[in-house]
């Protein structure tokens, strides 16, 4: 167990290191000189050179890389090339916004998908199960931003129940916060729920066929009972994997949703920074997303170790 844990941590650290190099290398080939963009097209070459020096862009790539990593590790990523404001607080703000969005979307997805998927599996031969199944198929096929546009058209512009877009921090105005959070979180959540439902269904179906469940049912337990008592933990293993993979999808899906709902999250920061060639911010945002995905994968590995006794020992 300890060995496995250490091994996992080692893998996590190595992955983080490699992906940081990848991100940095990628940014280095990005065309468009950030100093030139920052100063405008008519700036003299000497002014550009001066700013390059100020940004540290004239130093060797290795030194630039180390400087960047050092900044990240000390939670002081420096100032933006373009806005010249400190990046740290901005990243924290944006991350918080996106986490609310992704977290709520994830909760909505789980709340919808777990019971529906289980129901679909239990009733997989009945019409109700087939209808649910068809519904989930349609849900998967709808782009999240289209769902968002439809929600806005109906509930904001049409019925006037909710604001069409915008964002307010919960501390400032909790009611408005919830109102503004609802539609974007729903657009993210519904589509994810549709995807998740199908995984839950097949995981539960697999479990339903296992011998111990058949035994339990033979002993007279009703299928749902038997499932709840014995089966769900086993069904959880594949579902957790999918959830983790979906977190990455949600994080990136929020890029589009933030654009639709005008939400100042990590995604809109990424798009703005790409457009402005605010490379250091792009680099930081991409790294944060990569870090989040790797970290979640790591946590999933840990959960496996806890959840599945078969995985705990040395050999299976």
């Amino acid at each position: 167990m300890i060995v496995r844990l250490v091994q996992r941590i080692g893998i996590l650290l190595a992955s983080l290191a490699v992906s940081s190099v990848l991100v940095f290398a990628f940014m280095a080939v990005l065309p468009g000189d950030p100093a030139r963009v920052a100063l405008g097209t008519s700036a003299s070459d000497s002014a550009v050179a001066q700013l390059r020096e100020q940004f540290g862009l004239d130093r060797p790539l290795v030194a630039q890389y180390l400087h960047w990593i050092h900044g990240l590790l000390t939670f002081d990523p420096g100032n933006s090339y373009i806005s010249q404001a400190p990046i740290g607080p901005q990243l924290a703000d944006r991350l918080q916004v996106t986490l609310w969005l992704v977290g709520t979307g994830m909760v909505i997805a789980c709340v919808l998908a777990l019971p529906m998927g289980t129901l679909m599996a239990v009733r997989h031969r009945k019409p109700s199960g087939l209808v649910l199944s068809a519904l989930s198929q349609v849900g998967v096929a709808i782009p999240a931003f289209l769902a968002g546009i439809l929600l806005i058209t109906v509930f904001a512009v049409g019925l006037g129940w909710l604001p069409a877009n915008g964002w307010t921090p919960p501390v400032q105005d909790p009611v408005l916060f919830l109102k503004q959070l609802l539609m974007p979180a729903l657009s993210l959540g519904i589509v994810q729920a549709a995807v998740l439902t199908r995984y839950v269904r097949s995981a539960v179906l697999d479990v339903l066929r296992e011998d111990y469940l058949r035994t339990a049912r033979a002993k007279g337990l009703r299928p749902t009972r038997a499932l709840l008592r014995h089966g769900l933990r086993n069904a959880a293993v594949p579902v957790v994997t999918v959830l983790a993979l979906q977190l990455a999808t949600l994080l990136v899906g929020s890029v589009v949703i933030e654009r639709v709902f005008v939400i100042p999250g990590l995604g809109s920061l990424l798009l703005d920074s790409v457009a402005n060639r605010d490379l250091i911010v792009v680099q930081d945002v991409v790294m944060i997303i990569a870090m989040a995905v790797l970290l979640v994968n790591f946590l999933v590995d840990l959960v496996y170790l806890l959840i599945d006794p078969r995985l705990r020992g040395g050999a299976s």
Binding site: G32, A38, L39, Q96, V97, C110, T168, P169, A236, P264
Partner: protein, 504 residues
């Protein structure tokens, strides 16, 4: 935890909640605009400033937000385009038309507490040449000497007479800075204006708050939030659902129908300084050929183009002068749409087989017009390849700086920009005509009548040469709650002047 499906449900939610708790101490960004009280105003705009420093950062967004609101100038443009007093109560011009004497207001202060004096004015004007990096800085090259005669009197001597100089003093190069307030221009602007920047939620909004102790007339709104929307539809929805009160620049004129004939909203339609130019690369490639350029101009059906891509809003101009400039003349007759003539000219030019690279920025009007231009040119026998370049960075580098293009579409929104775009052979259009430059120079130094005559001649010349094609002039389209007053019909300056706005 272990005997049912809960760990599953937990992972994502718990992780998210935890992360939120960890971060809860930081103040998150707010787009809070729920407070649409009597004293505050929310305006929807398109392009967000990259930072607050318009001395070193290009783009129309910064002066739009700050000029006349946070920064003031000695003289300002009023809504009709006339030069009016601001920090200078009056001014006079010497006989040789080279020395301006400004009498300054006595009681103006900067938002950092410092008093505004002639020394600050001298400092600000001189700083343009020494510290600015924009192309506009050359507009102060004509200044020979600046002298602070007394705290309220400033004397500026020019190297030669210049009609343009006083006009430029109403734009961003004329902004007055505090000698003690230029340390953090990018993040903390210090000006004498009626508003100061209270909060900037990057990626979302800028809030300006009314300053106590402003020297001039107190503006109506205590707080104005400029809210930025990348997506025109989202901006419309925000007005429809009450999140904002004004759409400062309507970017989807097609959806104007949602606000017209609705008593809750007023629609304002006028002109701007924004010429949507089909830029042609006069320096190299097929568009170096004058006949090919003329063919392009004949091939474009401007009326149909404006109808399709900008819902028929805007004005056809035919050259680089908007109707609000004194030397405006309607030049749309010069190359009246004639597809057969275009085909013939293209044939004669010998460029017919070459593919034109139409490289447009990712901006709403450029994307819409690009589609139409491509189709119209192809109908006249051109071969056109359309590329979309991300705006600003990719487009600026590729087209604007390296001139690696044959045709492009961009709105030149700076006021009186014929000189910067066509009068400089190094500009991305690469239009190199000494006769044209001589006309501009003569216009600048001559009397007012001469200026108008020469500018007209210059505008006609550049149009005849087909140095570019002028698709149309962007309209000043604003939509606002019906009770908002003081919105300018025409947008003539670089500033979105908030000082005259009110609520009835």
């Amino acid at each position: 935890m272990r005997h049912d499906g809960r760990p599953t449900r937990g992972t994502g939610a718990v992780a998210a909640t935890l992360a939120c708790l960890l971060l809860a101490s930081c103040s998150a960004g707010s787009t809070a605009t729920g407070s649409t009280g009597k004293n505050s105003l929310n305006i929807g705009l398109t392009a967000e400033p990259a930072n607050f420093d318009f001395t070193r950062t290009e783009g129309a967004a910064i002066p739009q937000a700050l000029l006349y609101n946070v920064y003031e100038t000695l003289v300002k443009l009023d809504q009709s385009g006339k030069i009016r007093p601001q920090l200078a109560t009056s001014w006079s011009l010497s006989k040789d038309r080279r020395t301006y004497t400004f009498h300054l207001v006595k009681n103006a202060t900067f938002s950092n507490g410092a008093r505004f004096t002639a020394e600050d004015a001298k400092f600000s004007i001189e700083r343009v040449t020494t510290d600015w990096t924009l192309v506009q800085k050359t507009q102060m090259d004509v200044v020979d000497a600046v002298r602070a005669v007394s705290p309220t009197e400033l004397e500026v001597t020019l190297k030669r007479p210049s009609n343009d100089w006083l006009y430029r003093m109403t734009t961003r190069v004329g902004a007055m800075f505090s000698r003690t307030g230029v340390g953090k221009l990018a993040t903390e602007p210090v000006g004498t204006g009626p508003y100061a920047v209270k909060n900037w939620n990057r990626g979302d909004s800028i809030t300006l708050a009314r300053r106590h102790g402003y020297w001039g007339r107190t503006p109506h709104f205590a707080s104005v939030t400029l809210k930025y929307f990348k997506d025109p539809t989202a901006m419309n929805n925000a007005l429809l659902t009450g999140t904002i009160n004004v759409i400062g620049q309507m970017q989807s004129p097609e959806s104007l129908y949602r606000f017209q004939n609705n008593s809750k909203y007023k629609v304002i339609e006028g002109t701007t300084n924004g010429e949507v130019v089909l830029s042609l690369n006069n320096g190299s490639g097929p568009m170096k050929n004058r006949k090919a350029r003329q063919a392009v101009r004949y091939a474009i059906d401007h009326k149909a183009l404006m109808d399709t891509c900008w819902a028929g809003r805007g004005k056809l101009i035919g050259s680089m002068v908007p109707p609000t400039d004194p030397w405006y003349q309607n030049l749309t007759d010069l190359y009246r749409y004639d597809r057969d003539k275009a085909k013939k000219l293209l044939e004669e030019s010998g460029e017919a087989g070459r593919t034109l690279r139409l490289r447009i920025p990712t901006l709403p009007y450029a994307t819409a017009c690009g589609t139409v231009v491509k189709s119209q040119l192809e109908q006249a026998g051109f071969k056109v390849k359309l590329d979309q370049l991300e705006f600003p960075a990719a487009w600026l580098t590729t087209v604007f700086k390296n001139a690696d293009y044959d045709m492009s579409i961009i709105g030149h929104v700076e006021p009186r920009d014929m000189q910067t775009v066509f009068g400089n052979e190094k500009s991305y259009i690469r239009y190199d005509n000494p006769e044209f430059r001589a006309l501009l120079a003569k216009a600048d130094q001559g009397t007012r009548e001469q200026q108008i005559t020469d500018m007209r001649a210059a505008a006609r010349l550049v149009s005849k040469d087909a140095a570019a094609d002028w698709l149309f002039l962007l309209p000043n389209l604003m939509v606002a709650d019906e009770d908002i007053t003081g919105l300018p019909v025409n947008s003539v300056s670089e500033s979105l002047d908030l000082t005259g706005l009110g609520r009835s």
